[in-house]
Amino acid sequence: MAAVTYSKSVNTSPYYAVRLRRFAVTALVGLFALVLGIGYLLPFGNMALIAVKSQDQIAASGDGPIWPLEPEVYNYEGKDYPIYTVPFEDGTSRELALVKKGRQTSQFVDPANPDAGLVDWAGNWRGLAQVSTIAPHFDNFGIAWDIINFPRLFGNTVAIALIGMVGTLLSSIAVAYAFARFPIPGKNILFLVLIGTIILPRQVTLIPTYAFFAKIGWTQSWLPLIVPHFFANAYNVFLLRQFFMTLPRELDEAAMIDGASPFTVLYRVIIPQSWPAIISVGLFHFIFAWNDYFGPLLYLLGKPDLQPISVGVQIFNFQYGQRPELVQATSLMAMILPLVIFFFAQKVFMRGVVVTGVEK
C-alpha cells in the first residue's frame, strides 16, 4: 500500500516533501491522540489529588491550588509559626515566620537567620501570602478504610463475585456445550431466544422477581445476587459456544468411541482446550459482580453487614458529601481491584469483548 502512495506522489512532488508531509501527519495524529488521552485521564487526576488533600485545605479554599498543600511552619523557641512571603520597601521579599500578629505592625523571625531576633514589619499580615509545601495526606485512605469498614465490604464483594462466578461458569459451560455439540430439536430457535434475552430490559422481569424473592424470604440476603447466575447467561454462553465450535470434533468422537460419557468428554476434552474462553468469562463475571450496583441496592438496602463495596461506598459518600477528600479516597479504593485485574489480564479481556461484540 505504501509503495502505491509513494509512486503516485513521486510524480508530483519531490521526495523530501513526501517525507515531510508524512511526518506532519504522524505528528498531528499523535498530538490529537495525546489531547484525547489527557482528556480521558483528567478525571483520574482530579480524583487522585483531591483524595490526598487535607481537610483543612479543602475547607479553606476548595477552589485554590490543585496540589495537596500544607502551610509551612518554622519552629522558633519551641513553637510552630506559619511562614509568609513578606515584601520589603527595597523591592525584595523574604520568607519569614510570623511570630507576633499585630494590626499595624507584626513581628517576624527569619528562619535562615533566627539569631538576628525578631524583625518588625509595618502592614497588615492578613494581606500576606502564606508559604506552603506539597504534602499529600495519604492518611485519608486510612480514615476512609476505617469508616467504611473496607475489609468487610471487600470480603462481601469478593464472596458474592466468586460464588456467582462459579455458578455462571458451571451453567454457561454446560449450556454452551449443549448448543455447540448436541442435536437438540429447535436448537436454532432456542439460541435466538437466548440471544434475544440480551435486548430484554431487565425492568420487565424485575418486580415479580423481587416479589418472588421477598416471598421466599431471600431479600436482605446474598441469594438473589448469586443464585440466578447458576442458570447461565446469554453473553457467556455465546462466548463459550463460539469457542467450543472452533474445537475439532474428532477429539470428542475419539473419546466417545473409547466409551467416554458426554460428561467425561466435557471435563477431559473440551474444558482443557478452552481455558482462554473460560478465564475471560470468569473475569467478566467477576468485574460485573464487583461493579454491580443496582442488584445490591435493591436486595441489600438496610443490611450494611452484607453490602458489597459499590453500595457501601455510595451510602458513605451520600453521608460524607462534605468531606470530598474521603469521597474521592473511597472511590479510588473501590476501583483498584478491577483495574489491577484489567492490567494483568488485558489481552484475555479484550479478546472476550471482541468475540461477544463482533461475531454476534
Binding site: L42, F231, L332
Partner: protein, 319 residues
Amino acid sequence: MVMASVDTAGVLTSPREAPKRRTLQQQQRIWGWIFLSPWILGFVLFTAAPMIASLIFTFTDFSLSRPEMSFVGLKNWQNLFNDPLAIIALGVTIKYALIAVPIGILVPLGLAALLNSKHLFGKRIWRTIFYLPYMVPAVSSIFIWRSFLNGETGWLNRLLIQIGITDPPNWLQSEAWILQAFVLIGLWGVGNAMLTMLATMQGVPTELYEAADVDGANGFTKFLRITLPMISPVIFYNLVLSVIGVMQYFEVPYIATLGTGHPGTSAYFYNMHLYKTAFTYFDMGYGSTLAWLMFIIALALTAALFATSRRWVYYSSGD
C-alpha cells in the same frame, strides 16, 4: 455396551446401520437437553414467568406492603396518561437519548478510526487509556465525575477558565447542562463499543483498500466507502444495545443527583420513576405498567432499527 445390544436387536429386523444411529441420536438428544437444562430452567424461572407475572400485575393493584391484591382493569394503563411525572421522566429520557445515542456511536467510531490509523504510534497505550475507564465501577466513576464537574473546584471548569471561557456552566447543578454532563460521563464508558469497532476495522480485507488506492481514493473516501459499510453490522449491534441501554438509564442520574433527579426534574429519568414507584412507594401494579411500557417502547425501537437495517447494514455473504 449399548451399541452391542442394538446390534443384536437390529440384525433380524432392519439393516444394521439405521437403528444404531437413531438410538445414538436419541441418546445424544437426551444429553443435549440435560446440558441445556440450566438455561431452560433459568429462562422459565427468571425470564418467562416473571414477564408474564408482570404483565398480569399491570391489571392489578399489587403491592408488597398489602397482603391482598385485586384486579383493577385498565386503571394502571390509564394512569400513565394522568401521571405528570411519568410523562416528564419519559421526556427527560428521550431528550437525553437524542444526544447520548448518536454521541455514543460517533465517539467510539472516531476513537476506533484513530487507533486503526497507520499514522498513530503507541497504539496499545492509547487503546488501554481509552478502554480503562470502562473498568471503573459505576459508583466510583460517578463520584469522580461529580468532583471533576464541580462548578468551582472541579478541574473541567478550571481548565475552561484557563482557556478563556469566563463563565463555564455549573454542570450538575444546572437544569440546562445536566444532561450534557451525563453525556460527558458516558464518554468514559465507550471502551467496549470502541474495541468491537476497532476489531472489525482490523478485519476489513486490505485488498479493498488497495483497490481503492489504485482508483486514487483518498483516506476520507476510503473510510466512508469501505470502512463504514464493512463495519456497519457492529455499528448496528452497538446502536441496538445503546438504545436499549438508554431506556434503562439509572445509575448515573440516581447517584449523581443523590437520588433526587434535581435540579427540578431535569435529571428525573424514566427508570428512576419506575424504581421509586415500585420500591419506594411499593406500588408494584403501576410499576409493572411502567416496566411494560418501557419494554414496548424498546421493542418498537428495536423493530424499527431492524427494519431500517436492510438499507444500511451490509452483511458480506458467507461467514
